[in-house]
């Protein structure tokens, strides 16, 4: 198909000559190509009329790639994402994932937290230690000690709006995030949590500041064998990323 490339150039000339109006310049970059994404996932935290668009900059590449594929193929259900990505092949989704993973974008200021000290204590405990009696692992076990994610498949939890995290917990609990995935560790974990617990965790996470040094640090790359086994439906994946 190389023979079509000169044609594009030819038309360019033709158009400019015919109208006298110079065409718009579209830079040959990934940043330009993902403009369709950043009306929601934008750098300046630009939001639509509802606030459920998560930060994707700097999340692990494998995680982003899996989510793009899940949205496209209807495993993770969100119709606008499915329409936007319809027909795009894996390779292009991988390029997009790599682009967003490479962004070192400043985090939004932490949300205010007015929880009681007992709630804060509860959140800290669940995040750092979990609750082994109910088979709830510590958040840090998968999402990293700094909660910034584990390469390549586990997302960071900081910099997300409280309301978004609560909505995700709700979706995990009712099976709305990953339809049809039978063994889904995050779904099982979310079902063990009470609404109050999910709420304090979300509130605490959204209230954490992210320092610049944390932002620059590479993702830790170790997921314990136990969790990798338990979460095999999430860490399944393309051989080239393993």
């Amino acid at each position: 198909m190389i023979w079509t490339a000169p044609l594009v150039f030819l038309f360019f000339i033709q158009f400019a000559a015919a109208t006298g109006i110079p065409p718009v310049n579209a830079p040959d970059t990934m940043a330009e190509r993902v403009k369709a994404c950043i009306t929601c996932h934008g750098p300046e935290d630009k939001k639509g009329r509802d606030a459920y668009y998560p930060r994707i900059a700097g999340k692990p590449e494998g995680y982003l790639f899996n989510q793009l594929r899940n949205f496209r193929d209807g495993r993770r259900h969100y119709q606008p994402m499915a329409w936007l990505l319809k027909g795009l092949p894996d390779q292009y989704l991988r390029d997009m994932a790599a682009y967003f993973a490479s962004l070192k974008q400043i985090f939004p200021p932490p949300e205010p937290m007015s929880s009681s000290s007992a709630d804060i204590e509860l959140a800290r405990k669940l995040i750092a230690q979990g609750d082994p009696a109910r088979e709830i692992p510590a958040c840090v076990e998968c999402h990293g000690n700094d909660l910034m994610g584990t390469a390549p498949f586990i997302p960071g939890l900081l910099g997300l709006p409280r309301i978004y995290i609560i909505a995700q917990f709700g979706s995990w609990q009712n099976g709305g995030v990953m339809r049809g995935q039978t063994s889904d560790c995050m779904s099982e974990i979310a079902k063990q949590l009470t609404a109050a617990e999910a709420n304090v965790i979300a509130t605490w996470l959204a209230a954490q500041p992210v320092s610049e040094s944390l932002l620059k640090r590479e993702h830790s790359a170790v997921l314990s064998e136990k969790m990798a086994r338990r979460c095999s439906s999430i860490v399944m994946q393309p051989p080239e990323l393993q």
């Binding site: 198909m1 079509t4 044609l7 158009f15 330009e32 009306t39 209807g74 390029d95």
Partner: protein, 428 residues
Amino acid sequence: MKRSVIAAAIVGLCLAVFLVSIGFSPVSKKSTVAKPEDNIGKQQAQQARGAYLAHIGNCMGCHTRQGGQPYAGGHILETSIGTFVTPNITPDQETGIGLWNEEDFWRALHEGKGRNGELLYPAFPYTEYTKITREDSNAIFAYLQSLPPVQQHNPPNRIHFPFNFRPLIYIWRALYFEQGIYQPEAGKSDEWNRGAYLVQGLGHCNACHTTRNPLGASQGEILGGGQLMGSNWYAPSLTSLQEASTSDWPSHEIVQLLTVGLSSRAITTGPMAVVVSQSLQHLSKDDAHAMAVYLQSLPKTAPHSRGIAPELTEEVDRQLQHGNKIYETHCQDCHGSFGQGAPGAYPPLAGNRSVTLASPINVIRSILYGGYAPVTASNPRPYGMPPFAHILNDEEIALVLSYIRNAWGNRGSIITSVQVDRSRKGAQ
């Protein structure tokens, strides 16, 4: 009365099954004296040709669900007569077509009949595939049989009453199905005839680019445009100069649109973008050119209905001014202040027929949900249009679209927020 019609239909069906079963008893293979390696070479050549033809016919497009195993079926087709789930056509013996032979396959393509002679629903476009030659049918079959078998059970079709009564297809066929391979037109070039064969037969363009009646039969003029069944997309007329006729295009630009997915005048979106990336980008240079020659030669027709451009009253002018403001904020960066676009990335809106189409459903949809141009070998990382469904309300989308339809020399009807709302609700 009703009962006797049904009884007659059942008798007819039994007779047909009987005729089919005696007509197509297994044929004994002719033994030919040839070196085994010659046969292997021939077989490989046939499979390779079949692979090409299967791509051009986009068998995979319907017979693969998004993210699923190629050709294992499970893709959902919503139509006015019910929901079809496409079958597995890999050579798995239990769930696919592993037990089929060349003859069975030919009968499906050419006559619209299943392996046991049962009549197929025309959701499978045998009304077009009947034009395919026996040689091409055999090649496609050889290719499909060479694929790795995939064991995948797909859910059954859910067809509404009374269409779930299969013998009704007899009546349908009597009315709408004309069996027969493509007959080249004398006096036309080989290239033109090749293009016609691909467009009318294997490419089954008319399956989308025409109006269908409530029984799912093509009823409009050939390639005259129509709304896709069960979807909020309009496949434009390929014969109307107000729509997607290419009679005034240079043929190389048609080739470019078909194989790359965009040209300086147009960009393929929605289901057509999928067809380009799955199928048409694989066209050989000669076949792409042949299709262009044929498409260019289609008779020019009037559009279904013309959009009536508004009179420039004060009220309309106020609306367009408002639309202009929205355009400057959200659209101008990419499409330019004169609607000139960016070649190879963002289509021009000035003079763009898909923007001024009488039916605004495609362009409303593009604004609501965005999308990417197709990924093709010569455009592996296309640029995209963002969704605005959550950024602009119905009123704002109507205003900006009315402006675009009436700016820079464009003329088109004013769009109302009701039309946008309907599109939001009806989108699939």
